[in-house]
């Protein structure tokens, strides 16, 4: 697959775009012989960003490794909706152990493969933001520090969705969750430093760190493919809107993910050995309000009283990201 970003300017589906491309450059999902690592029939909600992100990521990993992968899964929506016994949607070897130990379990899988002389088989660990930034944080940092040969993918929907939308360390400021209710003088989640895991991963100086969203699935595929070209610890952080938890329309999952990037709230970039090496420029900048107003979790910022102070505060976070990752460079220069 080409590593040059392919831009689709038509508003239609990717399938249309794929038909305009040489066969080798087409999306993995447009290939009728794709692997379907996560098969249909699972029990994810309609419009689930995580199910979409996981399928694209793992199919890309399978193609990149000649289908030689083992996946380890943290407890969470992805685990629950894919494997209610006796059913399983996984068409790859898959292991779920606990909520907070997926990185360490993956380390064990990789160590066993190495000891058995099977290092051609690659290991992917995956979990939601709770498993990644909170309960499994120590295990993840340990895996990074040892530079174990594992790609860890975080599907970030910014709260504990599986248990009923409680706040996590990845919940953004002002967002309403079941444990940060929209009541009081400062409704929703508190403003704090947040827990920016891609930057924490970079601080470990691991070979590869990237962010992606389900709004640009070809970018996600390309980053997974690139990640599989490295050995050692790698981290991809994928923003995956959750209609249930965010209070958004199921049909708006892709749109909301795109607005997150186009507002600057979710910067899309790559880093190697601790340094940012590439970022995806914003094509059509929007104010954060465009992103916020599609989600019930932010509705208290608009009614009954409009909270410009909070909205401006969120805008300043987006502005800071745009400056930090240089997201507004002229697109004609970037190609």
């Amino acid at each position: 697959m080409s590593s040059t970003p392919i831009k689709f300017y038509q508003v239609g589906s990717f399938a249309i775009g794929n038909r305009l491309l040489p066969a080798d450059d087409r999306s993995i999902q447009s290939d009728p012989s794709r692997t379907n690592a996560l098969n249909s029939g699972h029990r994810a909600c309609q419009g689930c960003g995580e199910a979409l992100g996981a399928r694209y990521a793992l199919d890309a990993a399978m193609r990149a490794t000649n289908e030689q992968i083992i996946a380890v899964n943290a407890t969470g929506c992805l685990e629950v909706f894919s494997t209610p016994y006796p059913e399983s949607s996984w068409r790859i070897p898959w292991l779920h152990s606990l909520f907070g130990n997926a990185p360490a379990v993956a380390t064990g899988v990789a160590a066993a493969l190495k000891a058995q002389g099977k290092s051609d088989i690659r290991v992917i660990a995956q979990g939601g933001d709770g498993a990644t930034v909170d309960i499994g944080f120590g295990a993840l940092s340990g895996m990074f520090e040892r530079n174990d040969d594992v790609l860890y993918i975080c599907y970030d929907n910014e709260a504990y969705m599986n248990t009923g939308v409680q706040r996590s360390g990845a919940t953004p400021p002002a967002a309403r969750t079941a444990t940060t209710q929209a009541v009081g003088e400062n409704p929703g989640n508190v403003f704090g430093q947040g827990k920016n895991l891609p930057r924490i991963a970079m601080a470990h100086e691991i070979p590869y760190v990237a962010t992606a969203t389900v709004a640009d699935l070809r970018d996600l595929e390309a980053k997974v493919t690139k990640a599989m070209s490295f050995r050692g610890a790698r981290y991809i952080h994928v923003l995956v809107p959750c209609p249930l938890g965010w209070g958004s329309q199921s049909c708006d999952t892709i749109k909301i993910a795109r607005l997150a990037t186009q507002s600057g709230l979710f910067p899309v970039f790559e880093a190697e050995n601790g340094e940012v090496v590439a970022s995806t420029p914003i094509r059509k900048r929007v104010d954060v309000e465009e992103y916020l107003k599609l989600q019930v979790r932010y509705s208290h910022l608009f009614a009954p009283t409009r909270r410009d102070d909070v909205i401006n505060h969120l805008q300043s976070i987006a502005d800071k990201n745009i400056a930090r990752y240089n997201l507004l460079i002229d697109e004609s220069e970037s190609i």
Partner: protein, 395 residues
């Protein structure tokens, strides 16, 4: 080969001869010397085809072991005390997934108050975890039990804790006949996992099981654990055939013939107990000893049979259940059901307090005359405890 060797070193060398493929460890006293020894064997390539992973916590240690075992590697780790508690969630997970991990527990007290010395409260807290638990009486047995443990674990696809008393065994230098590599190779076949993560034959391990099947899953694991009651003695007798010495098994009796009083215990304290009993037997007191090697599964029938002629049972325990009393005694009572045998519990050696021959002899002498309470704490400073309790009550 006979060697004058530290217990931890004997265990490390023996574990290495079992050809583990993944070893993971986090430092905690008094287990450290074992994994230090193994790390040197891996680094020096005396132990080949083995990955030694230094992890960031005991929770990670057991998690690495889970991943490695599920990928078909023979896997070993060691821990103690707070470390065992820190990995508990993964301990239950390993047994639930049926992964034949072997773990040494260098028995140590649990805080607060923090205490690094020996008792059994760490491994006893995991008696319901679904792991097989074997308790070593000597360093020779500790070494031998590790060889047997890999064989039993892999035959049953169940994890095993080999429990050896911290410091008392781990740090003691004594004569150990450390197994020879050829003997271990003859005894221990290569690990053939029942289910393994393999891209050629993908399986999903660790699915969510609801009310419709959960009881059956738990019942099956109970029956599998109980089946170790057949496998453990067989492993011990086959061990004797190859190594020429008796080690392991479910229980071990000592001077039980004609014994009206039987003292039951686990681990290294059995040596002290036997010394005291020897003197009592020499004084024509009909007393014997029953050592329990396999505490999980509990050998209910074997213990019942061993106690069939006893009139009195004394259980000496290095741990207890706060709010009730002894732990081992509760299990022994299952073997006594329907009989009219008097039983007494002695809690001794907590947090490393020495269990002296003199204190034991005094207690056993009185116990043989039924002149002790149902529950006794050995060498308790009763006046200190009473004054503190009174002070608290007066607040």
């Amino acid at each position: 080969m006979l060697r004058q060797v530290e217990g931890s070193k004997a265990v490390a060398d023996t574990v290495a001869m079992c050809r583990p493929q993944v070893i993971c460890a986090y430092p905690i006293s008094p287990q450290t010397h074992i994994v230090e020894g193994l790390s040197a064997l891996v680094k020096s390539e005396s132990l080949r085809n083995c990955e030694f992973i230094n992890v960031e916590s005991e929770f990670a240690a057991m998690s690495v072991a889970i991943g490695a075992s599920a990928t078909g590697a023979r896997t070993y780790t060691a821990t103690a005390s707070q470390g065992l508690l820190f990995m508990v969630e993964a301990v239950y997970n390993a047994s639930g997934l049926g992964l034949p991990i072997v773990m040494t527990v260098a028995n140590r007290a649990i805080g607060a108050p923090i205490n690094i010395w020996n008792d059994h409260s760490d491994s006893m807290s995991q008696r319901d975890s679904g792991w097989i638990q074997l308790y070593a009486e000597t360093n020779q047995e500790a070494a031998d039990l590790h060889v047997q443990a890999f064989r039993i674990a892999e035959e049953l696809s169940l994890p095993i804790m080999v429990c050896m008393d911290g410091f008392i065994l781990t740090h003691a230098y004594e004569r150990v006949d450390v197994p020879e590599q050829e003997q271990v190779d003859a005894y221990l076949p290569a690990y053939t996992p029942r289910q393994v993560l393999d891209p050629l034959n993908p399986v999903s391990i660790g699915a969510m099981v609801g009310p419709d099947a959960f009881t059956e899953v738990k019942y099956i694991s109970h029956m599998k654990n109980l089946s170790a009651l057949d496998v453990i003695p067989r492993a011990a007798s086959q061990f004797q055939e190859i190594f020429g010495r008796s080690s392991g098994g479910l229980i071990r009796g000592y001077k039980l013939d004609g014994a009206q009083t039987v003292v039951i215990a686990l681990g290294s304290v059995l040596g002290t107990i036997k010394d005291v009993v020897d003197e009592m037997v020499a004084a024509d007191i009909p007393i014997g000893v029953l050592g329990i090697i396999a505490f999980r599964p509990f050998p209910t029938e074997a213990v019942r049979s061993a106690l069939s002629k006893a009139k009195r049972v004394i259980v000496i325990e290095k741990a207890f259940q706060v709010g009730i009393g002894g732990i081992v005694i509760e299990n022994v009572r299952a073997s006594l059901r329907g009989s009219h045998i008097a039983d007494y519990t002695l809690i001794a050696g907590l947090g490393g307090r020495p269990i002296t021959k003199q204190s034991l002899a005094t207690y056993l002498d009185r116990a043989c005359k039924d002149a002790v309470d149902e529950l006794t704490f050995l060498d308790l400073d009763q006046s200190l405890a009473d004054s503190e309790i009174a002070r608290e009550a007066g607040r």
